[in-house]
Symmetry: C2
Subunit: 180 residues, 2 copies
């Protein structure tokens, strides 16, 4: 498994549909988001539980209920989503082998274990650089970049797809159905 998981990829793609920049879909259900993108519904439901716990999305009730962003898309960074889904795991897990050096004879002197290990310190700087970059990009930035390369009617197609799904449900039709 890569350091930044597939769950983050699924979560980010879904959340982009919830930005107004991308398409004014409004609240969307996990099932619709999953089917729109061909990803497993149950897995996506678990991701949305994590996103809700992290305060990035909120569940709404009612016929048109689903999920919406908990705050404006320009205030949700890629890093927020990474941490919500993957946790705040470190890039490197220092085993403190510096304390085991045989010349210390099982009694590492204070200087040898003071502060962060020199090697771990570099890994922490690298991790900080990575996280700083992830914090620089918001959902709104990403949605804007997608809209820039998509045809003008892409957002309309997305909105229509969700509307078709909703009307299908109201009419008692089976869920699903792709646009021709």
């Amino acid at each position: 498994m890569s350091f930044i998981s597939t769950g983050v990829e699924y979560g980010l793609h879904c959340m982009l549909y919830l930005t107004q920049t991308h398409s004014p879909v409004g609240d969307a259900s996990v099932r619709d988001l999953a089917e729109l993108q061909g990803v497993p519904t149950e897995f996506l439901a678990k991701l949305f539980t994590k996103l809700a716990r992290a305060g990035l999305v909120v569940a709404t009730e009612g016929v048109k209920g689903g999920f919406r962003l908990a705050r404006p898309a320009h205030r949700i960074s890629v890093h927020d989503v990474v941490v919500a889904i993957d946790g705040d795991k470190p890039l490197f897990d220092c085993r403190e082998i510096r304390s085991r050096c045989a010349v210390f004879d099982d009694q590492a002197p204070p200087w040898a274990t003071r502060g962060v290990c020199t090697i771990n310190a570099v890994m922490q700087l690298a991790e900080k650089a990575m996280r700083t970059e992830l914090k620089r990009h918001t959902l709104d930035d990403l949605a804007g970049r997608i809209v820039d390369k998509a045809p003008a009617d892409y957002g309309d197609h997305i909105v229509q797809w969700f509307a078709d799904r909703a009307s299908g449900r109201q009419a008692g039709k089976p869920a699903g159905g792709k646009r021709a």
Copy 2:
């Protein structure tokens, strides 16, 4: 397992003993390096095979044979060691779910899959920032930082420990023996 492995930690610690900055040990055997640091010899041997393949260390023959750095310590970066041991694995493994959007009806249009996915592009920038930081630090930098915080006779203790091991072997004594 963390993104940067324990193998990298072991490899870096060992290589620091092979820098002249740290201690003028000369060539060192994997067994000695492993026992000096209390890490498994067989695992370390595999790491040195990788480091040798990457051209970072060279094996030397003879009674005093072992491994030495293949180039000066200021020309070996932390990133070189990370790549030699962990490979060049990506931080994020994009599944290209952008191409699966249901509105495309199983035929993603060229604009949707052109270039790198917007999300993956951010992950790649984050990975680049991380790698840039790892490239900024050399073995010589790390060794210098350790020497700065160690007592003046630390390097001598290390050299003496290796010398004791070598003379123990020549006298037919069992390998090992810690300094009092």
